[in-house]
Amino acid sequence: MQDLSPGGAHVRAVHDEFHGDLLEVSMGPHHPSTHGVFRMVVTLDGERIVKLKPVFGYLHRNHEKLGEGTSYLGSMPYTDRLDYLCSMTNNWAYAVAVEKLAGLTVPERAEYVRVILAELTRLLNHTCLAGFLMQDCGCSGTPLMYAFREREKILDLFESLSGSRMMCNYQRFGGCRVDPPADWLARAQTLVDGYTAFLDEFEALLTGNEIVMARTQGVGCMSAALAVSAGVTGPALRATGVAHDLRKVDGYGVYPRFNFRVPLGAHGDVYDRYMIRVLEMRESVGILQQALAGLPGGPIMNPAAKLRGFRPKAGEAYGRIEGPKGEIGFYLISDGSPNPWRYRVRPPSFINLTILEDMCLGHTVADAVIILGSVDIVLGEVDR
C-alpha cells in the first residue's frame, strides 16, 4: 500500500536528498502569485523546495459563524463571497443543501436555468484560471486579458439577469429569483456560439507553446491514490485519471438529460490540470447548447417555498454539487429555528491544497508558483 500520510516516504526522500545550506523564504501573504492572501513558508536548497508549509487564515472572515447567526436566506448573499469567481455555483450548492434539508422540489425550468448558469460559471472560472496560471508562468498579462475579455461578456449576462456582476445572489430555495427573459437567452446563445472560437484562439496562444509545455509538463504530479485519499476533487482529481464528476456520479439537477463527456488526464501534472479544464470548457459549451435548446417553460420558483420565516424542521443535510473547483458542499444542521445550528462549507479549494507540499517537493520556486496556480484556489473559499 502506498504511503499517503503527510510526511510520508516520498516526502522523506526529498528531505534526505538535500544537504546544502537551506534558505527559508516566506512567500505571501502578499505575493503576486498566491492568488490572494495565502502564505507558503518554503525551505529552499538553492532554488529547490525541500519543505513547504502552507499558512492559512489571512482571509478567514468567519463565514460559518456568520451563517449560524443569520437566517437561511441571509446566508445566500454570503455564499456569493465564498468563491468570488463562481457565485452562481456557490448559490446552487447552498440551495441544494437547504432544499435537501427542507425537502423542497425545484421546477424544471429553474433546474435548466441553474445548469445554464453553472456551466457559464464553469466557463468563466476555467478561462480565468488559465489566464492566472499563465500569469504565474510569466506572461505579461496577455492570456489573462483575453480571459477577462470573455469573462466580461459572461459577467454582463449575469449582471443583466441578477443585477450584480460578481455577487449574483440569484438562487433561492426551490428555484431562482428571476425568470430569464427571451432576449437574455438569445444573448446567452450568442455568447455560447462564439465561445468555441475563443477557445481555439486561446489554445493557439498557449496549448502548443513550447515554453508552456516545458514549464508545465511533469511538474507537480499527483498520484490518483493520493488525490482520492486527500479528498482532491474537480479537475485536479480528473487530471490524475479518476473518473469522478459529480454531474455524472450524483446526477443532480437535470444533468442526466445532457450528453457530455468527462475528460481524464493521465499524469496529474500541471499541464494535465490545465488541459482538463480547457477540454471541460468545450464540454460545457455542449451542455449549454443543449440546455438552451431544451429550456422548458413553466414557473421558476416552487410556490411552496417561503422567502421569509423559513424554518426547516430539525435535522441535518449535506448537499454537494460539482463546482468549477471541485466538490462544493454545504452541511447544515437545523434545530427548527430560523437560523441553522451549524452551517458548514465544504470548500474544494481548501481541501485540494492538502497535498500542496507533496506536489511541490523537489521542484523549484518557479514551479511551486504554477503548481499553486493549477490547483485553482480562491482564498475566500480556502479561509472562508
Binding site: 534558505l23 523564504v25 505575493h31 503576486p32 502569485s33 529552499l44 538553492g46 532554488e47 499563465m134 500569469q135 504565474d136 508562468c137 510569466g138 506572461c139 505579461s140 498579462g141 496577455t142 486579458m145 483575453y146 475579455r149 496562444l205 496549448t207 502548443g208 507553446n209 513550447e210 515554453i211 508552456v212 509545455m213 516545458a214 514549464r215 509538463q217 511533469g218 473518473a243 464528476d245 455524472k248 463527456r261 468527462v262 475528460p263 481524464l264 488526464g265 493521465a266 499541464y271 494535465d272 488541459m275 482538463i276 477540454l279 523549484t364 520556486v365 518557479a366 514551479d367 508558483v369
Partner: protein, 401 residues
C-alpha cells in the same frame, strides 16, 4: 539634385556633421576634440534618454493594443507626456534603503548598471558619419562593457539584503554565465568574415547590392540568419527581457533584484534595462542587418541614420511583441537552452560561416550547391537539437470517461 550627388555627400546625410562643426567652430582649436567627444556623449544621452522614455510608452501602448485596450492615453496628447509624469514621480519619490542593506553597493548598483549599458553605445555606427568612438576592437569593447551589467544586477541583489533579491542575484549570475557564450559565439562568424573587430568595417563589409535590390547583409546568408536569431535569443537573455526575465520574475520573486529599490534608483534600473536592450539591438543591426545601409540602391537617398533608426525600432518592437506573447522559462530550462542548444548551434554556425567564406568563389551551379550545404548545416542541427531539447515535452491527447 539629391540624386546627382553621391549619397554620402548629400546635405541630409551630412547634416549632423554640419551641426557639430558649427558648434565646435565657435570654440578654440585646442578644445575641439573635447567638444566633439562631449557633444557625442550629450547627443547619445539625449537621444537614448528620449528613446527610453518613448520606448516605455510604446511598450505600454503596444502591450495595450495586443491586449485589446488603448494603453496610456490621457496624459498629454495620446498619452505622449506619460513618460515625463513617470519621470517626475520617480525623481520626487522617497528613496528607501533598507536598514540591513549595504548602502554603498545598494547605491552603486543602479549607477554602474546605467553607466555600463551606456558605454557600449559609443562604438555603434548610427550613420555613415555618426560614430562616437571608432575603436579597432569595437565589438570586443561592446561585449566587455555589456558583461558588467549582470555584475551590477548581482550587486543589487546582494546588497539589498532581501531573500528574493538574493535568489535573483543567483539567477542573474547563472544567466550571465550561460548566455555570454552563445552571444559571443554568434558574433564570431561576423568578425571572421569581415576580418575586423571594428564596427565600421563590419558595416562597410555589408554594403552594396546584388541586382540593386538584394543587400549584402549578413542576415540574408544562411549562417547570418542563424547567427542573427541566436544573437537575438541571447540578447533577450542578456537584457533580462521576457521570456528570460528570471532575475526580476514578478510572479516568483516579487521584483527580484529590484525588490528593495524605490524612486529614482528603481527608475535607473528601468533605464538601464532599456539602454541594454537598445544597445544589443543596435549591435544586432550593425552586425547582421547591415547597420545604416539602405536595403535597396534606389532608397539610398534616405539618410543612413534614418535607416539605422528604423531597423533599431523594428528590433525593439520585436522585443515588445515577444514580451507580450511568451511566458517565462525556468532557470534550469534557461541554462539547458543555452548549453545544449545555443552553444552547439553557434559552434556549428562558426564552421558554416567558415565554409561560406571558403566557398565564396563558387559560381554557376556550384553557387546553388553552396547554398544547399549551408542551409543544411543550419536546418539539420536545429531540428536534431530541437528534438533533443524538447524530449518528453509534447502535446497530449486525452481520453474521456
Amino acid at each position: 539634385m539629391i540624386a546627382t550627388l553621391p549619397p554620402a555627400e548629400s546635405w541630409l546625410e551630412r547634416f549632423p556633421l554640419l551641426v557639430r562643426d558649427w558648434i565646435t567652430g565657435h570654440l578654440p582649436e585646442s578644445l575641439g576634440w573635447l567638444a566633439v567627444s562631449l557633444l557625442a556623449i550629450v547627443v547619445i544621452l539625449a537621444a537614448f534618454g528620449l528613446l527610453f522614455a518613448y520606448l516605455t510608452l510604446a511598450e505600454r501602448k503596444i502591450l495595450g493594443r495586443i491586449q485589446n485596450r488603448p494603453g496610456p492615453n490621457r496624459t498629454g496628447w495620446f498619452g505622449l507626456l506619460q513618460p515625463f509624469a513617470d519621470g517626475i514621480k520617480a525623481v520626487t519619490k522617497e528613496d528607501v534603503v533598507p536598514r540591513e542593506a549595504d548602502a554603498v553597493l545598494h547605491f552603486l548598483a543602479p549607477v554602474l548598471l546605467v553607466a555600463m549599458s551606456l558605454l557600449g553605445l559609443a562604438v555603434i555606427p548610427f550613420g555613415r558619419h555618426l560614430l562616437a568612438a571608432n575603436l579597432e576592437a569595437g565589438v570586443l569593447y561592446f561585449f566587455a562593457a555589456g558583461a558588467a551589467t549582470e555584475l551590477a544586477v548581482f550587486m543589487a541583489g546582494w546588497a539589498s539584503h532581501n531573500k528574493y533579491s538574493l535568489l535573483a542575484a543567483m539567477r542573474a549570475l547563472a544567466q550571465l554565465i550561460s548566455y555570454e557564450l552563445p552571444l559571443l559565439l554568434s558574433v564570431v562568424p561576423v568578425v571572421m568574415l569581415a576580418g575586423s573587430l571594428s564596427t565600421t568595417h563590419i558595416v562597410d563589409a555589408q554594403g552594396g547590392w546584388t541586382f540593386g535590390w538584394i543587400p549584402h547583409w549578413h542576415v540574408l546568408t544562411p549562417w547570418g540568419f542563424a547567427g542573427f536569431v541566436m544573437f537575438m535569443i541571447a540578447a533577450l537573455a542578456e537584457s533580462n527581457r521576457s521570456p528570460f526575465d528570471l532575475p526580476e520574475a514578478e510572479s516568483e520573486l516579487i521584483a527580484g533584484h529590484l525588490t528593495e529599490y524605490s524612486g529614482f534608483k528603481y527608475a535607473l534600473f528601468f533605464m538601464a534595462e532599456y539602454f541594454g536592450m537598445c544597445g544589443l539591438s543596435a549591435m544586432a543591426v550593425t552586425l547582421f542587418l547591415g547597420g545604416w545601409q539602405a536595403p535597396c540602391a534606389f532608397l539610398e537617398f534616405i539618410p543612413s541614420y534614418v535607416w539605422f533608426t528604423a531597423k533599431l525600432l523594428t528590433l525593439l518592437l520585436g522585443f515588445i511583441w515577444i514580451r507580450a506573447t511568451l511566458p517565462r522559462l525556468r532557470m534550469d530550462q534557461l541554462t539547458r537552452l543555452a548549453w545544449k542548444f545555443l552553444v552547439p548551434l553557434t559552434l556549428l554556425n562558426l564552421a558554416n560561416a567558415a565554409f561560406w567564406s571558403l566557398s565564396a568563389g563558387w559560381s554557376g551551379p556550384m553557387h546553388w550547391v553552396r547554398w544547399a550545404i549551408a542551409l543544411t548545416v543550419v536546418v539539420g542541427p536545429f531540428l536534431l537539437l530541437g528534438r533533443a531539447l524538447t524530449a518528453g515535452v509534447a502535446p497530449r491527447t486525452y481520453r474521456y470517461a
